[in-house]
């Protein structure tokens, strides 16, 4: 599933190091001034759209966060109320299943497809890369999928019953299966395949030729050359996939509105519901909780997957 735009939670600082500024001490005064002139826009951007909202959110989550009137400090009351709310726990469960299953089912496939596509003739590769560039409207394809999933007239029901001869199924209205069917389109829409293809193209041909002469089979070449060389881009894509899928909102909201019975209501969707109830303090507290969870996931990931200095 494509990474949806983050809604309420402040952006998580990514692990990407800032553009390395030359060591300030060694620079003459004019150069240092120029360095700051180049870096300042990025810092201001980060501050106003990153750190400032994050700090404000943390502050607001400790207050009653009224639209107007007196701001009252309420300590951890908002958090206590959220932790007591079974729907919060449920939304976190849904989010974890959604993100985990989504990454499991959709993350590896584009990598494999990119590798297989690179075996095609050069002209076909260019066509494929162009196709990946074709802008697809997220909303349009979502509506399209709503029709596909329609239980009476949808094409998937037709395939299930008429082609495969299976009993009719309740795709999006089955509590056990709804998350799978929400993820299913993502299996067919090839994520960041373009990045993978460009990364594959940058591997020197002689590596594959040497491997071939040394007796490597097709799969061994993929396992010992392609995948290790793609490791940095795969690692980066996985971080973005984790961050993005933990904040899943637009697609499930349009498809199911969180139903049936909250079986597909993610944390961000629940946050949106709380906001609509006017509970701003609770909503910001939930966003801070989600931020903390994502932050922990990213830190654990960075600990487990170290940078490859040989990339």
């Amino acid at each position: 599933m494509a990474v949806t735009a983050p809604v309420a939670p402040p952006p998580v600082p990514t692990a990407e190091p800032a553009a390395a500024a030359p060591t300030a001490a060694a620079q003459p005064a004019v150069r240092r001034w120029q360095v700051w002139a180049f870096v300042l826009p990025a810092i201001l951007f980060q501050f106003f759209w990153g750190w400032y909202p994050m700090l404000v959110a943390i502050f607001l989550s400790l207050t009653n966060a009224p639209i107007r009137g007196q701001v009252t400090f309420v300590g951890f009351n908002n958090y206590a109320r959220l932790l007591a709310d079974p729907l919060v726990a449920m939304s976190f469960r849904v989010t974890f299943v959604y993100a985990g299953l989504g990454i499991l089912l959709t993350f590896g496939i584009p990598i494999l497809i990119a590798i297989l596509l690179m075996e095609m003739p050069p002209r076909l590769i260019r066509v494929m890369m162009l196709l990946w560039f074709v802008p697809l409207s997220g909303i349009a394809s979502t509506i399209f999928w709503q029709y596909m999933y329609n239980e009476q007239f949808g094409i998937l029901q037709f395939i299930a019953t008429e082609v495969l001869g299976l009993p009719p199924r309740a795709f999006l209205s089955n509590e056990r299966w709804v998350i799978f069917w929400l993820i299913f389109p993502g299996i067919l829409m090839f994520g960041p395949g373009l990045y993978y293809m460009t990364s594959l193209q940058s591997i020197p041909r002689s590596y594959f030729e040497a491997a071939e002469i040394e007796g490597a089979s097709f799969w061994r070449k993929i396992w010992t050359i392609s995948l290790p060389r793609m490791r940095p881009i795969i690692s980066m894509s996985l971080i973005f996939a984790i961050i993005g899928s933990m904040q899943e909102f637009a697609f499930p909201d349009l498809m199911t509105r969180g139903g049936p019975n909250g079986a597909s209501r993610t944390v961000v969707m629940y946050m949106f519901d709380i906001l609509n109830d006017g509970r701003y303090g609770d909503a910001t507290a939930l966003s801070v909780m989600l931020f903390a969870v994502i932050m922990v996931l990213v830190l654990v990931y960075r600990r487990l997957v170290t940078d490859d200095p040989d990339a």
């Binding site: 040497a210 491997a211 200095p309």
Partner: protein, 371 residues
């Protein structure tokens, strides 16, 4: 039966013929060098032998087996690439073991052979390192060790020394030769450097425009070039070429140039007679020009020419002189002499004796040597 046999090998890319009708045989243990300027088809020929390019026409036979349609990994060849193609994400050990592991060699064999190959190339202390931590020369030796760790039927080298500096290059040449002798397998080596070709090859194939211009030992190519191209390509400094006209004068043939007249030895008369009064290219190797006093043959009016010294390059064994002929238009030429010529000779005209027994004549239209 030859170890390797290449018959009428041709490769066409689109409308460009990269290799045309190349044929040669290679005996067991022979070291063949393909040499030529860039774009002459030498690397394409090598890649067809490795199986990395499919021949358009022709046959490749290795040990009696036609391999045209056999995948590279089933041809049992080993290849050293110009950029070494050492895998950066693997340690030196894993790089060397890669081919054995691909072919499912028993673990015991790998454990024995990999350190042994590393020792041969003096990289056994680097087995746990990644290529990033190695110098260019060490990386190149990893590539050599990877090629030598298994027993291939044919060893291929694609300009393996091109990215090394001069000092390392001599060492690496020794490494390649030593291991070639140890393995006793046919090897084919591609280079654009004729000095490297002369140093390594049992036989050398000079290629040009996709064809083998001449195939022979280094001495043959040097002493009996088939064509002006081979004569010019082999040897440093290059052979001096002069446009001359053959004249019949008092019973002997004279090579007439604006700046000199040289008498053709009687034994060359037979072959050259039909070219009387026609323009020819005369080729004189720089070392066939001698200081008259030290010439190993009698010097007379008929085998001398004059040159003005422009540059003197001292060598350990003498000097390289860069000269111009007298008169207009002046032609530049080179002479390597066995004496140290002092700098005071700069700008002065000196006589040089030509060893007429060793000069070459070429047909200016076909470029072929006349013998």
């Amino acid at each position: 039966m030859s170890a390797v046999e290449v018959v009428h090998l041709t490769k066409v890319f689109g409308d460009k013929v990269a290799v045309r009708e190349v044929s040669f045989r290679l005996e067991e243990g022979e070291f063949l060098v393909l040499v030529g300027p860039s774009g002459c088809g030498k690397t394409t020929t090598l890649r067809m032998l490795a199986g990395l390019e499919a021949p358009t026409r022709g046959e490749i036979v290795i040990h009696g087996r036609r391999v045209n349609d056999i995948r590279p990994r089933d041809r049992n060849v080993a290849m050293v690439f110009q950029d070494y193609a050492v895998f950066p994400h693997m340690t030196v050990y894993e790089n060397i073991a890669y081919g054995l592991r691909s072919r499912r060699a028993p673990a015991a064999v790998i454990r024995e052979r990999v350190p042994q190959a590393a020792r041969t190339f003096r990289i056994d202390h680097l087995l746990d390192r990644k290529p990033r931590q190695l110098s260019g020369g060490e990386r190149q030796r990893v590539a050599l060790a990877r090629a030598y760790v298994r027993d291939a039927d044919l060893y291929l080298y694609d300009e393996p020394l091109a990215n090394l500096d001069a000092q390392l290059r001599y060492q690496a040449r020794e490494d390649i030769l030593a291991l070639h002798r140890q393995k006793g397998k046919p090897s084919i080596y591609v280079t654009h450097d004729q000095a490297e070709a002369m140093a390594l090859g049992d036989r050398i194939a000079v290629m040009r425009d996709g064809r083998i211009e001449q195939l022979g030992t280094g001495a043959e190519l040097y002493q009996q070039p088939h064509s002006r191209f081979v004569a010019y390509f082999i040897g440093t400094p290059s052979i001096n070429l002069f446009g001359i006209t053959l004249r019949e004068e008092t019973g002997s043939l004279v090579a007439e140039h604006a700046a000199f007249r040289l008498t053709v030895p009687p034994e060359r008369r037979g072959a050259l007679a039909p070219y009387r009064d026609r323009p020819l290219d005369l080729g004189i190797r720089p070392e066939d020009l001698h200081v008259p006093r030290l010439a190993p043959f009698p010097v007379d009016e008929g085998n001398q020419l004059q040159g003005i010294i422009n540059v003197i390059e001292p060598l350990a064994s003498g000097s390289v002189l860069y000269l111009s002929t007298l008169g207009e238009p002046a032609a530049d030429f080179t002479a390597t002499v066995r004496t140290r010529v002092p700098a005071s000779y700069l700008g002065k005209a000196i006589p040089l004796a030509v060893n007429m027994a060793k000069v070459h004549f070429f047909d200016p239209e076909t470029g072929l040597a006349i013998r």
